[in-house]
C-alpha cells in the first residue's frame, strides 16, 4: 500500500524488538469480543491511485461547475478569479503539511504569514486587531455574539432582518444553549434597509446589534447611524461582511463605528468549493477588547539573539490553557485559507483591490440595468455593490430551477433562503463579479425574459 512504508520484514523485526508475538498482541486492551478479525464487511478493499482518481472524477462530473454556466450566485459565497500563483504557494509542502505553529523556531513561515494576514484584515475592516482566522463567516458571527455577551455582560442579541438567514440560524442555534435571547426579524422588501425598525429594537439589555454590510439583499446599510444608537444603549455593533471585495469600494465597518467586525473571507483567494473550507475573519476596533477575542493571535517579539520573530500569543484566552474558562472552544483556524487570502490580497495590493471592486460594481450596475429592463422585473435596491435583488413576479425557486436547463445559474432565490416565508418568494438575489462576462449577463437576460414571457 503506497502510503505505508513498512515492509513485512520490518514488521517482523519490530515485533521482535517489542517482544510481541504478533500484531494483535498490541491490541490486547481492546476486548476480544469487540475486536474485528478481518476487514469490515461491505466496504471495498484498497484501490490504485488511478482507480480512485477515476471514481472521483466521475462524481465531479455529475456537478455543473460554475465555469460551465452563466453564473450569478452569491448570498454569502462569491466566485472570483484566483491567480494561479495563490494555488502554487498554498501547495508548497512547507505550508501545506506544516503543523499549527506552536514551535515558533521552526514555524516562522506560517507565523509571519499570519501576522501579515492579521494586519491586512485589520486594515480592510478598519479595525485595530484581527485574529488569525475562524472556521467561516457564520461561526465567526456567532463567536462575535458570544464575545459581546462577555464584554457587556448582557444577553439580548438584536439581529438585523437582513442578516444572512443561515448566519442568523447559526446564532439562534447556539444561543439556545447559552441562553442568549435572540431578537430576529425577516428582511423587509424595500429599497433601503430598515434602520429605524432595527434601532427601535435596541434596549438596555441588548449586548449587541448584528448588521450585515452589504446585507443579504445587497443593500448597503448606514452603519454609522446604527453604531450611534447601539452605543447609546451600551450595546456593541457587530458588523458582518460576506463580500470582502466590497471593502475596496465602500467604507470599512470600523470607520463607521462597528465594534466587532466579522465576515467571510472566501472571496479573496479561496474559491467556492461547495461551501467549505471557507475563512472566518474576526477583528475588533478597540484594542482593549483583544483579551476577550476568540481564536488564535499571532504577535511580534524577538528571539534570544534579538532578531524579530513571531509567536502565537495571548493563549491564556484559549482552551488548551484555560480549559472550561476559555473564550472559545476553537483550536483550529483556517490557516491555509488565510494564506490563500493573504497571498491573493498581496497580489492585488491596494490598487488591485480597488480596481477589482470597481470592475465588480461596473458589471453589477450593467446587469441591474439590463435585468430591470425586462418587463415584469423590478430592481429592489437603491444601493448595492456587486449583488442586488430583483422581484420577478413569480416564485423565483421555480424560475431558477428552470433556467439550469439552459446552463444558467441565475442567482439565489429568496425562497431557497427563507422557505417558510411565502411573501419573499418572488425575490431573486443576483451577484455579478469580474468573472461574469457581458455575454453571461445577456444570456441571463435572454433566458429570464424567455421564462417570464
Amino acid at each position: 500500500m503506497r502510503y505505508l512504508p513498512l515492509t513485512d520484514a520490518d514488521r517482523s523485526a519490530m515485533l521482535a524488538k517489542i517482544g510481541a508475538p504478533n500484531i494483535d498482541a498490541l491490541f490486547v486492551d481492546v476486548p476480544e469480543e469487540a475486536r474485528l478479525s478481518g476487514p469490515i464487511e461491505g466496504l471495498p478493499l484498497h484501490a490504485s491511485e488511478m482507480a480512485v482518481e477515476k471514481h472521483m472524477r466521475q462524481l465531479s462530473k455529475k456537478n455543473l461547475a460554475a465555469a460551465d454556466a452563466a453564473f450569478f450566485l452569491g448570498a454569502g459565497a462569491y466566485r472570483h478569479h484566483v491567480p494561479a500563483s495563490v494555488d502554487h504557494i498554498i501547495q508548497r509542502g512547507e505550508f501545506l503539511t506544516a503543523y499549527t505553529p506552536y514551535q515558533p523556531e521552526i514555524a516562522q513561515g506560517t507565523l509571519q504569514m499570519l501576522f501579515e494576514f492579521q494586519s491586512q484584515v485589520a486594515r480592510l475592516y478598519g479595525c485595530a486587531v484581527a485574529n488569525a482566522s475562524m472556521y467561516d463567516g457564520s461561526t465567526a458571527c456567532w463567536e462575535a455574539v458570544a464575545m459581546a455577551a462577555r464584554v457587556t455582560k448582557k444577553k439580548r442579541v438584536v439581529l438585523s432582518g437582513a442578516l444572512h438567514p443561515h448566519y442568523a440560524e447559526v446564532v439562534r442555534t447556539m444561543a439556545k444553549f447559552t441562553e442568549d435571547e435572540i431578537a430576529g426579524a425577516l428582511p423587509a422588501l424595500q429599497s433601503t434597509p430598515d434602520n429605524a425598525g432595527l434601532i427601535a429594537r435596541i434596549d438596555d439589555q441588548t449586548s449587541c446589534v448584528v448588521v450585515q454590510y452589504p446585507d443579504i439583499l445587497g443593500r448597503i446599510p448606514d452603519l454609522g447611524e446604527i453604531a450611534e444608537a447601539a452605543h447609546a444603549k451600551g450595546a456593541l455593533l457587530i458588523a458582518v461582511n460576506t463580500e470582502p471585495v466590497a471593502l475596496g469600494a465602500i467604507k470599512s465597518p470600523g470607520e463607521l463605528g462597528a465594534d466587532i467586525v466579522v465576515g467571510e473571507g472566501q472571496s479573496i483567494g479561496v474559491g467556492l468549493q461547495f461551501g467549505g473550507p471557507y475563512l472566518g475573519l474576526f477583528a475588533v476596533r478597540d484594542p482593549k477588547h483583544v483579551r476577550q477575542m476568540p481564536g488564535r493571535l499571532c504577535g511580534e517579539t524577538v528571539d534570544a539573539e534579538g532578531r524579530r520573530g513571531f509567536v502565537l500569543t495571548l493563549s491564556t484566552r484559549e482552551q488548551h490553557i484555560r480549559r472550561e474558562k476559555a473564550t472559545s472552544n476553537i483550536c483550529t483556524n483556517s490557516g491555509l485559507c488565510a494564506l490563500a487570502f493573504s497571498v491573493h490580497m498581496t497580489l492585488l495590493g491596494e490598487q488591485g483591490l480597488r480596481q477589482l471592486a470597481a470592475e465588480n460594481h461596473r458589471l453589477a450596475c450593467l446587469a441591474a440595468d439590463r435585468l430591470s429592463a425586462i418587463p415584469g422585473v423590478e430592481l429592489l435596491n437603491e444601493s448595492f455593490f456587486n449583488e442586488f435583488t430583483i422581484m420577478i413576479g413569480r416564485d423565483a425557486r421555480e424560475v431558477v430551477k428552470k433556467l439550469t436547463e439552459q446552463n444558467v445559474l441565475a442567482g439565489v432565490s429568496l425562497g431557497r433562503l427563507y422557505p417558510a416565508h411565502d411573501a419573499l418568494h418572488e425575490g431573486l438575489v443576483v451577484a455579478v463579479t469580474e468573472t461574469t462576462s457581458e455575454d453571461d449577463i445577456d444570456t441571463l437576460v435572454a433566458a429570464l425574459k424567455g421564462e417570464l414571457a
Binding site: 467561516d136 470599512s252 513571531f310 484555560r322 492585488l348
Partner: protein, 502 residues
Amino acid sequence: LEEPLIFEIGTSQTTGVDLPDVPSSTSSRLGSFTRADEIGLPGLSEPEAIRHYTRLSRQNYAIDLGLFPLGSCTMKHNPRLNEKVARMPGFADVHPLQPVDTVRGALEVINELAVWLIGLTGMDGVAMSPKAGAHGELCGILCIRAALEARGDAREVILVPESAHGTNPATAAFAGYRVENIPATGEGRVDLEALKSRLGPDVAAVMITNPNTCGLFERDMKAISDAVHAAGAFVYCDGANFNAIVGKVRPGDLGVDAMHINLHKTFSTPHGGGGPGSGPVVLSEALCPYGPLPFTARTKDGVVHLVEEENAEAFDHKHAFGRMTAFHGQMGMFTRALAYILSHGADGLKQVAEDAVLNANYVLRSCDDLLEAPFGPSGPCMHEALFSDAGFAEDTTTLDLAKALIDEGYHPMTMYFPLVVHGAMLVEPTETESKASLDRFIMALRSTAERAKAGDPTLKTAPHYAPRRRLDETQAARKPVLAFDGPCAPAGTPQLSEQGGS
C-alpha cells in the same frame, strides 16, 4: 535569514494582477459609502510575491521534510492525489446554494464518505457539517442536550477525565454545562468505580477519549458506557485518536453515542499550518434525530438528498437542533478524506491502525530503558508512546529536550500533555514512517535524552540551528504587537532581506 514584511516591501501602487481601470465617471450605486481614505494594503508584483512566500515557506518544518512525532495531533503523510481531487472543477467550482440537481455529485461525495464513517464506527448516522474537531465536539454535546431536552430531562454536569484535551471542558462549558473531572487509575485509565459512584440524575454525559491521551485503550469502555446509559446519560467519545483503532474496533460496539472524527488526523487531510479541519460527528440511534442541518439522506432509489430547513419534515428530520454553520461543511476536506479512504479500503485502514500502533510500540520499547514510560509496564500502548521527565538533571526540562530535538532536525513531540504525567512527552510516529526513519529518530531521541539526564547545559539554549533561537513569548503577551503599524513602503524601497540562497 530575514524576510521583510509585505508592508516593508510592497507599495500601495504596486499590483500583481492586471485589472482594468474603471473610469471614475462610471455611474455608481454605492450611495454615500465610497471608501476614500487609503486602506494601507501593500501590493507586490507576481515575481516578488512568489519569492516572498517561497522564502517564508522555507522557514517552516513540515511533514514533507521529516517526521512529526506529535502525540494526539497525528501528523502523517498527505497524499498529493487528494489535492488533485479536491481541485476538480466539479468540486472546487460549485456554489453551495446551487439547485440540488446541479450538485448531485457533490452530494454523493458527502453521502459516500458518510457511509464509510458510519461503517467504520458502527454508528447510525453522521452530522457532516462541523468545521473542525472542537466544532464536532460541540455538535455532539448539543445533540445530547437536545435529546435530553426532548425527554424533558434537564441535566447540568458533564464528566471529563483530567487527561482530556482542553477542548472537552471548553466545549462542555460553551454548551452551558458544568464540568467535573473523572479521576484516573494508576494505570492511566478512567477509574470505573469512581465514575460509577459519581453518575446520577444531574449528569448529562461523560466525555471520554479512546484511545485516551495517555495513548492507552480504555479497556472498560463497554462497562463505562453501560453504566452511563443506565444512569440516563450519554457517552461522548473524543475521536482525536480514532486513527489508532480504525478497522480494528468500532466505537458503536462499545456503546458510544457520539464521536467526532478529525478528518485530518485519521484520514490525512493536510494540517495546513493550523487548518482548515473538518469534524464530522457520528451518532447513535438515540441521537440521530437531533443532528444539525444540513443533513444528507439517501432514499431507497439511491438518490442523495440534501436535507435543509426547507425539507427537514419530509425527510423525517424535524428534530434537528439547528444549524452549526452557513453551508454544508468542509467539502474540500470531504473529497480529500474520501480519496484517502478509497485508496486504503477496508483492508488498508486496518493496516493503518496496525502500523501506527506497531510504530508507537517500537519507539516505546526502543527508549523505555532510558526514558521513564509511566504506563509502559502495564502493557502495550496504542498509537503513541508516553514518557515522563523522571531522571532528567535538575534544571533540565521537557521543553529543553524538545527544543534540542529541533537541532537534531525534528519537530518536537507533544509536551506537558497529558497533564497527569510530569513533564509529559507524547510521541506519535504514525503509520507513514518507515522503520529506517524511526531508527534514526530513536537514535536522536536517545542521544538527547542522555544529554538531558546528564544536564548538558547546551540544551537550555537550544535550538541553535533553527531559523530562530528561542523566542520571547512573555514580551509578546505583555506588550502585544498584533498588526503592522506603519505605512506601506514607499516605491523603490530596498528590501532588507537576504536574497535567495539555500
